[in-house]
């Protein structure tokens, strides 16, 4: 019973992250009023990725976990990306 | 773009087979021989203790990674190249529409002629454009090594060329329900001259009328094969009952020559129920004699004969054959002359269009579902929620049977009937009217 009891994340860190998340939400709503054409989706997704990165890293403690956790997360996301990505060889060329 | 095909589809595919089977055969032989040899040579009776404890060898392992990699590369290449040959349609390919439904095929040729067997000229590439009206089907002709799914809402194609005259099996290769395995027909490869003659031999009043329709763009909105487009289909239009809305009131009319003429010159007056008032008025835009030709043609399109061609079941293909024989014998002679003019009702037309007759006979014989003969008004034993109950086949029952076929299953029949959300209440009434005539 040692490793996992190491990090007690202080309240302040959480609060800062929360504020950051709210700001990012504001940004994504604001940005959505402008038209970037095909980039709309990517801009919104980019912000969502930053937001989810914050949630995962701090709220979900991923930052403090071992490499195993991080690698597994990476593997899962990679597979998801592959599942979605490979479909486009069909969808885009049909 | 693509000139004459260099190879036929059969050759293209077989090449891939030869290469892959060849490599695989050698690999399999090698592995089997090695296995038997090892078991014999190093049997414990012969070698009570192992000769070594060797557990790796980098070079050896690299070899059996690299060699298979090269071999599969070759296999991939031949597979892909052959596939490309299947996808490159030769320029001179004749287009044919192939439409599929549970469980029959309908082929429509360039001049509008339809058939349930696929007729192709020998030595001439054909391109079949595949569509489906309900679920997935798949067009498969083993002899030509071609297969492609028919997907609702999508148009696929295959091409092939029959080098020898003959009759080749055409299967439905995608599972599509209870009669999947009888969704079989044939490709009839006939010499080019015969094909041309066959194609010309038109049922009923021939080309002139249809060419007029084509010329004036009617066929952009009206089909000849029963499928509704922007406007109602011309199939069986001669003398059928139509429900029209005129000035907000609906009434039923017989579509006779007067009605048809009015519909062309002043389409806004009576709108066929269920369709938008989208047809432009043709008053003054079609010369008198051409209009007369059109009307001749349209009134000749009576439902009986046409629905016969559409549904591909046995009884019906007999009818098609009969028509064809008749045509080749006495082509040019209008059908009305030899057959009593149209007593087909809209109900019968619907039953043909929706494929009911693929499963239900009208002569009392058993097919996938119960026969329509004598159905209305009879006492039916059906299984409902696991219990057998007896009901009378009245109008209400008909609606239930069509809308929610799974709820009450006629005894001793499979729950195979698909629901028909597309049929309107009027359609069902029309079906009922027709069914009641089948005593």
């Amino acid at each position: 019973m040692s490793e996992e009891h190491a990090h007690i994340v202080p309240y302040k860190t959480f609060a800062i992250v929360w504020i950051g998340l709210l700001i990012l939400t504001g940004i994504t709503i604001t940005v959505a009023q402008y038209d970037f054409g095909a980039w709309n989706v990517w801009v919104a997704l980019g912000i969502a990725v930053i937001k989810s990165g914050l949630v995962v890293a701090v709220f979900m403690h991923m930052k403090y976990e071992s490499r195993l956790f991080k690698l597994s997360l990476f593997a899962a996301l990679l597979i998801l990306a592959v599942f979605i990505g490979l479909n486009f060889f069909d969808v885009l060329y049909r | 773009m693509n000139p004459q095909p260099l190879i036929t589809t059969t050759e293209a595919v077989d090449k891939a087979f030869y290469v892959i089977f060849g490599i695989s055969g050698i690999a399999l032989l090698g592995i089997t021989v090695a296995m038997v040899y090892l078991v014999w040579r190093y049997n414990r009776k012969r070698e009570p203790v192992p000769l070594s404890q060797k557990d790796h060898n980098a070079w050896l392992e690299a070899t059996w990674i690299i060699i298979p990699t090269i071999l599969v590369g070759i296999m991939f290449w031949y597979g892909w190249e052959g596939y490309l040959s299947l996808r490159r349609i030769p320029d001179n390919a004749i287009p044919i529409q192939g439409s599929s439904r549970m469980w029959s095929w309908l082929f429509t040729y360039e001049n509008g002629k339809t058939s349930d067997k696929l007729y192709v000229p020998v030595g001439q590439p054909v391109k079949v454009l595949l569509t489906s009206e309900d679920v997935l089907h798949s067009f498969y002709v083993p002899a030509f090594r071609v297969k492609r799914d028919c997907v609702p809402g999508m148009e696929n194609y295959v091409w092939f060329v029959a080098e020898q005259p003959g009759s080749y099996d055409l299967f439905c290769a995608e599972y599509c329900g209870v009669a999947h395995s009888s969704m079989i027909t044939t490709v009839e490869a006939i010499p080019a001259t015969e094909f041309a003659a066959w194609l010309k031999a038109q049922p009923a009043t021939a080309d002139a009328g249809k060419e007029l329709l084509q010329k004036h763009g009617c066929l952009g909105c009206h089909s000849l094969n029963g499928s509704p487009m922007v406007g109602p289909s011309f199939q069986g239009i001669g003398g059928r009952q139509v429900i029209v809305v005129s000035g907000g009131e609906s009434r039923t009319l017989t579509s006779d020559r007067t009605y048809l003429e009015k519909s062309i010159v002043d389409p806004g007056a009576d709108i066929v129920e269920g369709y938008p008032p989208a047809m432009p008025p043709y008053a003054g835009r079609i010369p008198e004699e051409e209009l007369a030709g059109m009307l001749d043609y349209l009134t000749g399109l009576n439902a009986k004969e046409q629905s016969a061609e559409v549904t591909g079941d046995n009884a019906v293909s007999e009818a098609v054959k009969a028509t064809e024989e008749k045509e080749s014998g006495q082509s040019g002679q209008p059908a009305e002359a030899t057959e009593p003019v149209n007593h087909a009702s809209p109900g019968e037309d619907l039953a043909g269009k929706n494929g009911c007759l693929g499963c239900h006979s009208t002569d009392g014989s058993r097919r996938v579902g119960p026969s329509f003969k004598g159905l209305m008004g009879s006492e039916r034993t059906v299984v409902k929620d696991g219990h057998e109950v007896t009901v009378t086949a009245d109008a209400d029952y008909l609606i239930r049977a069509i809308r929610d076929p799974g709820a009450e299953i006629a005894k001793d029949y499979p729950p195979a009937m698909p629901p028909y959300p597309g049929l309107s209440d009027e359609d069902i009434k029309a079906l009922q009217a027709w069914l009641e005539t089948l005593e």
């Binding site: - | 996808r87 309900d134 599509c176």
Partner: protein, 542 residues
């Protein structure tokens, strides 16, 4: 848990007293070995139901036209046959049954990481199975879609597809929980000295499998959930009249179901990788390559799903990409086959039943795999897609592959678990009969497929009669062999002679403890591992 330690000295091992009396000691047990046996028996029962249905299919196909059943029953029968074989037999088969029994012992653990979850996933399995069976008698009757549930047909048919979809969802959930449990166990509960490179290959294969179970299975979950929604709520995501695309259903379905074929076969390969060294008295040749190839199959296997869809109307570009990737995934399989052969080289080979079944795995899987390459090549697949050639292919890899590995595992590990031995001569005879029947049955299928007989055909054109009859006769021979094998092995484990701890001379941990194993697997002290899994010298076998 002191009474538990007490039973460890009992001869009956973990069969001794449970925590609850009688049957409850089993169905409420969280002991991985008991759960493994629960799985083993449920899976075996469903296997027997499944093969009986297969036999019925063959009887119907003995002659064209109606032979013993109607078209509708035939369609329901092959659907049920496929669903049972895939979801109730072959996917849980080796991992949940033998994996549960053996894997924790192999890594020196007392149990899996989440024993209660383990039991729960068995209950989910049973729930799914019960629902699947219920779907036959309720709603519109037995589903008739084939195990692939393709829309639009599955969305329209009035048979009880909705309940079957729920059943599949629950079975998928069960599979996920097993996988999750195994990954955690293998990461967390390895005993002292059990380094990654000392893990037996069977456990390695389970590890790779478990990752596929975790990452691919949810996709079938959402797929059947969408099918359910399509039927019940009319959401129309795959309905062209509502803008949907039926081909997307196929993508989603195969995103799971192709990786699932590696869920089926990887554990089987693991069994073979464990058996061959023991019966050759030689360490597994290319241990690292086999490990890496398992992981590679798991990953690359996730990239090839659309090879089931070459004729579906998807883009030609996709055909090219997926065909290419399909060939890539064949390479790691080839590596394994060659390594197994090299393991036997210069060994001292004892042809006992487990090895016989393992060798038939190699032969039959190779045939199946090579015909898989025929299917992977786009042009060739166009001709044989959805024909009996495909049916032949997958029976070779699934029955000839995983099925044989399951039998091999039975002959290899059941004596350990039950502490009793079957009759080896009968087992060998049964093996011979099975091989003969198998080859006749499925080679005929491949040939008739090459000639163009489509699958899922209740009726066929007369040209195909001869080969179909040959296949049916083959199925009878196969049936005789299977019955002989099962009867022999069940007699053996209940009535056979007692066996010692290490009847085959294995070097992994499971052979170091008594047969049957005690409840806590190991004594008071956790075992300490000092050598690799196939180091017969250090293990004192040589």
């Amino acid at each position: 848990m002191s009474e538990v330690t007490a039973t460890a000295s009992n001869d009956r091992g973990f069969f001794g007293e449970g925590n609850y009396p009688g049957i409850f000691g089993w169905i409420f047990s969280t002991d991985h070995k008991r759960i493994g046996l629960l799985y083993f028996w449920s899976v075996t029962i469903f296997f027997c139901v499944g093969v009986l249905l297969g036999l019925l299919l063959r009887l119907e196909l003995f002659a064209p036209g109606e032979t013993i059943m109607s078209a509708q029953s035939y369609n329901a029968t092959f659907t049920l046959h496929g669903v049972i074989m895939i979801f109730l037999f072959i996917i849980p088969g080796i991992p949940a049954a033998f994996g549960n029994m053996i894997m924790p012992i192999q890594i020196g653990a007392r149990d899996v990481s989440f024993p209660k979850l383990n039991l729960f996933s068995w209950y989910l399995y049973i729930t799914g199975a019960v629902l699947a069976v219920t779907s036959l008698f309720t709603g519109g009757g037995p589903p008739d879609t084939g195990w692939t549930f393709y829309v639009p047909f599955s969305a329209q048919t009035s048979t009880n597809v909705s309940l079957a979809a729920i059943a599949v969802f629950i079975l998928g959930f069960s599979s996920i929980l097993t996988g999750l449990n195994f990954v955690t166990t293998i990461h967390r509960l390895r005993t002292k000295g059990m380094t990654w490179m000392r893990i037996p290959l069977f456990t390695w294969s389970l590890y790779a499998t478990a990752w596929i179970q975790i990452l691919a299975t949810p996709v079938i979950g959402i797929t059947v959930a969408l099918l359910f929604a399509e039927r019940v709520l009319g959401t129309g995501l795959f309905d062209p009249s509502q803008g949907g695309d039926p081909i997307m259903f196929q993508h989603l379905f195969w995103i799971y179901s192709h990786p699932a074929v590696y869920i089926m076969v990887l554990p089987g390969m693991g069994v073979i990788s464990d058996i061959i060294p023991v019966f050759s008295r030689k360490p597994a040749f290319g241990y690292k390559a086999i490990v890496v190839s398992s992981i590679a199959i798991a990953f690359a296997g996730s990239l090839v799903w659309a090879h089931h869809m070459y004729t579906s109307g998807m883009s030609d570009m996709a055909v090219m990409i997926f065909s290419f990737l399909t060939f890539i995934v064949a390479i790691p399989s080839a590596i394994k086959v060659f390594n197994w052969l090299a393991t036997m080289y210069q060994g001292s080979i004892l042809l006992d039943p487990p090895l016989l079944y393992a060798l038939s795995f190699i032969l039959l899987f190779t045939i199946g795999g090579l015909t898989g390459l025929v299917l992977g090549a786009a042009a060739a697949d166009v001709h044989v897609h959805d024909t009996y050639f495909v049916v032949g292919h997958f029976h070779f890899v699934m029955f000839g592959g995983t099925g044989m590995a399951f039998f091999a595992a039975m002959h290899y590990w059941l004596p350990k678990i039950y502490g009793r031995m079957y009759d080896k001569t009968v087992a060998t005879v049964a093996w011979g009969v099975i091989m003969i029947g198998f080859l006749i049955l499925y080679i005929s299928m491949k040939v008739v497929g090459m000639q163009g007989m489509p699958r899922r055909y209740y009726d066929y054109v007369p040209e195909f009669t001869g080969l179909n009859q040959l296949a049916t006769v083959g199925s009878w021979i196969l049936a005789v062999g299977l019955i002989l094998m099962f009867v022999n092995i069940f007699r053996g484990i209940f009535k056979g002679d007692p066996v010692e701890a290490n009847p085959w001379g294995g070097a992994c941990l499971e052979w170091q403890i008594p047969s049957p194993p005690p409840t806590e697997n190991f004594g008071e002290e956790d075992p300490v591992v000092t050598h690799g899994p196939y180091d017969f010298k250090k293990a004192g076998i040589l």
